[in-house]
Amino acid sequence: MTEKMILLVEDNPDDEALLLRGFRRGKLANRIDVARDGVEALDYLLGEGERPLPTLVILDLKLPKVDGLEVLRRVRAEGRTRMLPVVILTSSKEEQDLVESYRLGANSYVRKPVDFLQFADAVQTLGLYWLVVNEPPPVVRT
């Protein structure tokens, strides 16, 4: 088993920095790759070359080019990434976003709090749970 790493799909560099800071505070030293829009995320996950899949995808909904829900839909449509754990991390608490995310097969939905301490708490819990507590799905060969 290779090292557990995370793909963060986030267009806001501040949020990215704060999330990394939160992980550091929680002593989570896993590698985190960042995709800055939907197209980058899809390239990373479904592109040529069959890059090893991350253990967890943290996905924002509001993204340039291709939005988060569309990324999720395409990821779930692909056999290799169908069972990949995807956590939505977004500002929105709108019902339609929640419903759509779960309907498309999101594993979890977390709203970014304004308060940094709460935000840091949330990402630590997230990382801890999905990287340490949770047993990931077996790698699917295509």
């Binding site: 704060l18 800071r21 304004v114 301490l117």
Partner: protein
């Protein structure tokens, strides 16, 4: 809003003209009084001994016929009244009916029951071979009218026959009158030397009209009170057709009698005259209908135009609303991200540069972070306000009692030190959107909880009351209250009557509550006094029928 009546103008339901109805009813009562007076005058004539030589012999009807006119006339007059008047009306009509039936029995059986000369001795033998007995056709007409007046007071299938009965009586009277006018005795006298007197014939016609219009909204007279073109034509043509032939034929007939015209010449004159006058009436009637119809079409066009305008406005509003909602949605979300950065990097500043930051620097950062969090709360509240406007209403039965208990338990858990007596009414149930109602109750209870926090012990009541006969709900507390002078400001977004240091809040909660109540078609208002408490009352009327649940 267009008035319902103008929209109904194109419908096919019969439209009754209320003014005409009451006019016809009044006319019916006057007719009753008139024929009763005719009867009374006739009896007066008999008493004065005019039966032999008043005008021409036999110009007076029989005393019993006069009695029938009095009975039926007063019955018609009283038929409009209530209770005792109505009972008296029925009694009088029944008495007239009994008299008529007895007289008919006399005619049919040939037996003299001794009722014919009860009132006056009759030695005139005018129109009858049996002294004092009413002519059989007149008697039959009286029987019909009596039955018609009795049936008019009832409902049901048999009762509807009153119209046919009244029309039969009217026909008998009209035939008798025609006989007198044209000097054809067979038309008014059925048996040999037994006939209807001229005043009786006239009285029967008038009484028949009175009976028919006593209930103008049904039967053959319904057309007369119709508000549509049919009613207009009927009101023009019926009286004309009834009266004009008489007016034309009468002088011609007089001319024949005094030898001025021969019968064929008179008939030709009457025919030509009738044709001309009736054609003129038809033209006038048709024009009246045309004018009314043109006005109606104009109204319809106007309605259509207004409708289109209304629909366009509604559509514009809808589009505008959508744009506004999507604007506030994205603004609210995009506003949060920078706040997160400000708060996060403020915290980072303290953590990473603690040693080089003087104590007042820490204090500044604390204030920055407090402000960002307040702004975050504001945005959340605004989001909820906009969500409340956008969300579709899904009405169902909502148990407000259970909802309030749950919310109060939550408040008590998070503030275990507070001494608050909370009274929640039993069975507070409403048909409303459960999620939106939760926002209402939560806001009102949280407010009550918050504004009583400066009192050592307090009391909060959630219950039901009556407002102008409608059920209403209220949330009452004995907390900080407010000055009634500012009551109007309470429900505006961002309006606060207390400083943030005194009681924290964004001032959006009550605006949200009011919007929810309004979306349910209800109203909300507040009463209060400084340091005595506040009371918020709201109504949630049941859903109006046929209304769409979407906003």
């Amino acid at each position: 809003m267009l008035s319902a009546s103008s929209i109904d103008a194109g419908g096919d339901a019969p439209r009754v003209h209320p003014v005409l109805v009451s006019r016809y009813r009044t006319a019916s009562a006057w007719i009753g009084a008139g024929v009763a007076a005719l009867g009374a005058a006739t009896l007066g004539g008999w008493a004065a001994g005019f039966e032999h030589g008043f005008l021409t012999s036999g110009a007076l009807m029989k005393p019993n016929a006069a009695a029938c006119f009095i009975l039926l006339g007063v019955a018609l007059l009283l038929a409009r009244g209530r209770n005792r008047a109505r009972a008296a009306s029925l009694g009088l009509a029944a008495a007239a009916g009994a008299l008529a039936v007895a007289t008919l029995a006399e005619w049919l059986s040939g037996v003299d029951l001794g009722i014919d000369e009860l009132l006056f001795q009759d030695d005139t033998l005018a129109y009858t071979t049996v002294p004092g007995r009413i002519a059989p056709n007149t008697t039959l007409a009286f029987a019909f009218y009596a039955a018609a007046i009795l049936l008019q007071q009832r409902e049901g299938r048999i009762a509807r026959w009153w119209r046919a009965l009244a029309l039969c009586g009217l026909a008998i009277g009209a035939v008798g009158a025609a006989g007198h006018l044209y000097g054809v005795s067979r038309l008014y006298a059925l048996a040999q030397a037994t006939g209807m007197a001229m005043p009786a014939a006239a009285g029967l016609i008038v009484l028949g009209c009175g009976v028919l219009v006593a209930r103008p909204e049904e039967g053959p007279s319904a057309l007369l009170v119709d508000d549509g073109p049919g009613g207009t034509i009927a009101r023009w043509l019926l009286p004309s057709v009834a009266v004009i032939p008489l007016i034309l034929a009468l002088p011609a007939q007089v001319g024949v009698r005094i030898g001025l015209l021969d019968q064929a010449y008179a008939s030709a004159l009457v025919t030509v005259g009738l044709t001309g006058v009736l054609a003129a009436i038809v033209v006038i009637g048709a024009r009246a209908v045309e004018v009314r119809d043109a006005a109606r079409r104009e109204r319809e066009r106007e309605n259509l135009r207004l409708n289109e305008q209304l629909q366009r406005r509604a559509w514009e509003l809808l589009v505008l609303n959508r744009e506004l909602e999507s604007f506030s949605y994205s603004v609210s979300h995009d506003l949060r991200s920078p706040l997160r950065s400000i708060d996060g990097f403020g915290q980072a500043l303290i953590e990473d540069c603690a040693s080089s930051l003087p104590p007042e620097g820490h204090e500044h950062v604390r204030r920055i972070r407090a402000a960002t969090q307040r702004m975050g709360q504001l945005i959340d509240d605004l989001l909820q306000l906009s969500r409340v406007t956008r969300a579709e209403l899904h009405r169902e039965r909502v148990d407000l009692t259970a909802m309030a208990r749950e919310l109060v338990a939550e408040l008590q858990r998070s503030n275990p030190g507070r001494v608050v007596t909370v009274e929640i009414g039993e069975d507070l149930v409403v048909n409303a959107d459960p999620r939106l109602m939760r926002v209402v109750i939560e806001n009102l209870l949280r407010n009550a909880w918050k504004f009583t926090s400066r009192h050592p012990s307090s009391r909060i009541v959630f219950g039901r009351c009556q407002h102008e006969g409608e059920p209403a709900f209220f949330v009452e507390d004995d907390g900080a209250g407010f000055d009634m002078a500012y009551a109007a400001k309470l429900f505006g977004a961002f309006q606060r009557l207390h400083g943030a240091t005194e009681f924290p809040g964004t001032g959006v909660g009550l605006a949200t509550v009011q919007r929810i109540v309004h979306r349910h078609g209800g109203a909300i208002w507040a009463e209060g006094a400084v340091e005595l408490g506040a009371r918020f009352t709201f109504t949630v009327p049941p859903e109006p029928e046929g209304e769409e649940s979407a906003a």
